[in-house]
Amino acid sequence: MSTQTENNMEQNQNTFGVISKGLKKRYRAEKIFKSLGFSAVLLTIAFIVFLFTSICFNGYSAFSQAKIALSVSLDADKFQNENIADANFPGIIKDSLQQMFPEVKSRNDKKLLYALISQNAAFTLQEKIERDPSLIGTNPTIWVLANDDVDMYLKGRIDMTTAESDRRIKDKQVQWLDQLKRNGQLKTVFNTTFFTSGDSREPELAGILGAAKGSLYTLLITLALSFPIGVAAAIYLEEFAPKNIWTDIIEVNINNLAAVPSIIFGLLGLAIFINFWGVPRSTPLAGGLVLTLMTLPTIIIAGRASLKSVPPSIREAALGVGASKVQTVFHHVLPLAMPGMLTGTIIGMAQALGETAPLLMIGMIAFIVDIPGSVTDPSTVLPVQIYLWADSPERAFTEKTSAAIMVLLAFLIFMNAAAVYLRKKFEIKW
């Protein structure tokens, strides 16, 4: 008896020895794993911070824009024609610049002088007079947009240490700008154009509204189609479909579709929607249809998962008190599964919002100035606008690109926050 206990004790001590020997190693492994995980998180945060700061640093200046005051003389004899649009508006603008800087005489210098303001100044003036014809005969002061090069110079984005011939802003122009600034005829204002106009080849006129509206219409079509179809498909597959080889095949296919590169959907959309159905190219309708195909698998998978997470006891109880299968699903199961389905839908939508590749095939990567008014007007979407601006030669488009990315990010953060909010709000704990 006593020898047995002794034996046991000896064994215990041995085990204890083995454990305590390995203990240090185990603690160390744990520490290493923890610190690896921690540094992974740190690294991710560092990347995100770097990305955001570089985008914000490049883009914040796009939200302001330089304007120059011109006092224009609108003598009645310049508007002989009945049609106001026939008047020589560029000429009036040039005259007023000439008056402000009478010392500028040579042809080259004049060209430099006119380059201070945007080509759009004449159109601004025309619009103003068309709205208020009583201005004719007066000498109003109007604020016009500065040229993009001037804007870049004022924002300090042009390297002024290089030789004059290599800069897009010459020394003379700098002098004139200084003079304007002293006279209070140069100011920097919030860039409303950026939020109220469509695309343009002049950076100072380019805006995001056209693309934002295009994105909105496209997403509306996508949501209107993919949400009902996706939810119906998920309900049928999860609650009603018999378990046989066919439903297995469908399930595998849906899971596969979720992993198909998005450009394939673009090709499919080109072949079916545009070439076969005759849906007009480059429209939110065509884009929405293609993105529906892309988001459907995401919504179906998320929908099925949330239906699956509703405990069977709910179904059994409903069936037990005499509800039909349809009543059980629509009165009891679906309301409980809805938060999960909504989350899945919003994530699918956020994915669709950032998509460009499939839209390439259906002509949404295009230069479109007019702001779309319906789903059948040609339009582009936010990420496509970013892509187009990133590829434009003018320096000022760099900051527009970053600003557009900021707008897109704001949209995405808003949508994802909505998904989190919905989940938290409707979440039911068992």
């Binding site: 080509q119 159109f123 042009i158 390297d159 290089t162 290599d166 800069r167 897009r168 343009s200 080849r201 002049e202 209107a224 189609l225 009902p228 179809i229 939810v231 119906a232 159905w277 005759g278 849906v279 007009p280 190219r281 480059s282 309708l285 629509f330 679906l334 002509g363 990567i365 295009a366 230069f367 479109i368 100035v369 007019d370 059948t376 040609p378 187009l388 990133a390 590829d391 434009s392 030669p393 003018e394 320096r395 488009f397 760099t398």
Partner: protein, 343 residues
């Protein structure tokens, strides 16, 4: 719930029903070259602002992709105009004709120079076409005329007068029209300088083109994608690298990058315009004559593009970096547009 879904489905379906029959289009549809895109868009914007017509829609599909869409057929669902950074090929004319697009008007609009640019931190490179070929071809001829894999590592290996820096060239991918023009003009020009290759050209044109058009794949030539702004930024970061892109990007970024001299010529506006800079190519657009009277504003758009205030030497396209044609050529093509003379 299900009823609501059914109704929603019915509504969306009926929406399709009405839009499937595409009504007459009231805006011009333009496709084609990404090189012409920055110029065509300026004209389109000007046209949209100064007339009562809608602003044309312009897709950047590349020259080849543009012809494919353009030659799809006649009717509002096909584009009216395609831009191209090269002339239409015979095969493309045939494809067009097969689809019923028989009357095509060719309009040359100006020239674009291709530059080999470097950062301003170093002096500009003095290259010849032969240097470019030796630096970038996959296979180069030896003294006795045999082809060997390109052994040159530095610019000094290519030409002792050049600096002793690694050959590192950032350029467009094969889908780009800029790349087509670069290999055709610069690489072929350089290849012809070798006697053995000049003989090969006479004997076997195809084999010659293969040698002249194949860029090396050992890392000295880096495909930098279609985004030329990115190349400019990379040049700024790496003063030893050379970038290949269109003149308009050099023009817009002349405070950061400089064009290398080719055969002693600097890529300037004037040198490209008078043809003394060797690597430049014509730009075109092609008009479907059958659409001119169908789509509103076609004639006016063509008029805007071919007016002196847009494509003239003082026009706004020149401000954007397009090299205008000489006076006689401009006159000729303006007349072509007026009379809509077909190919």
């Amino acid at each position: 719930m299900k009823k609501k879904m059914l109704i929603a489905g019915a509504i969306t379906l009926s929406v399709f029903g009405t839009t499937v029959a595409q009504a007459a289009r009231d805006y011009i549809e333009i496709v084609g070259s990404s090189t012409v895109y920055p110029f065509a868009t300026v004209v389109a914007e000007q046209f949209g602002k100064s007339t009562s017509y809608k602003t044309p829609k312009i897709e950047s599909t590349g020259s080849g992709g543009g012809f494919k869409l353009f030659c799809g057929g006649v009717g509002v669902e096909y584009p009216d105009i395609t831009n191209a950074s090269r002339a239409i090929k015979k095969s493309e004319i045939e494809r067009c004709a097969a689809a019923g697009v028989k009357d095509i008007v060719e309009v040359k609009i100006g020239y674009d120079g291709i530059v080999l640019a470097t950062s301003k931190a170093k002096p500009a490179l003095q290259l010849s076409e032969k240097d470019i070929f030796m630096a970038l071809a996959k296979e180069v001829p030896t003294a006795d005329g045999n082809l060997i894999a390109n052994p040159y590592k530095t610019w000094k290996d290519v030409n002792p007068a050049l600096p002793n820096t690694k050959i590192e060239v950032l350029g467009p991918p094969p889908t780009s029209g800029t790349r087509d023009a670069f290999v055709e003009l610069a690489m072929e020009g350089g290849a012809k300088k070798f006697d053995s290759l000049a003989e090969l050209k006479k004997a076997d044109e195809k084999a010659f083109v293969k040698v002249a058009h194949t860029l090396r794949e050992d890392g000295a030539y880096i495909e930098a994608g279609e985004n030329d702004n990115l190349i400019v930024q990379k040049l700024q970061a790496n003063p030893d690298a050379v970038g290949i892109f269109g003149f308009s990007f050099l023009d817009q970024n002349s405070d950061i990058v400089q064009g290398s001299f080719i055969n002693g010529q600097e890529p300037t506006f004037d040198a490209i315009a008078d043809g003394s800079y060797p690597v430049s190519r014509p730009l075109f657009f092609y008009v479907k004559k059958a659409h001119v009277d169908v789509i509103p504003g076609m004639k006016e758009y063509l008029g805007e593009f071919t007016s002196e205030k847009s494509w003239g030497p003082e026009g706004y396209l020149a401000d954007k970096g397009m090299i205008p044609m000489p006076d006689a050529e401009r006159k000729e093509y303006a007349a072509t547009v007026k009379s809509l003379k077909t190919l």
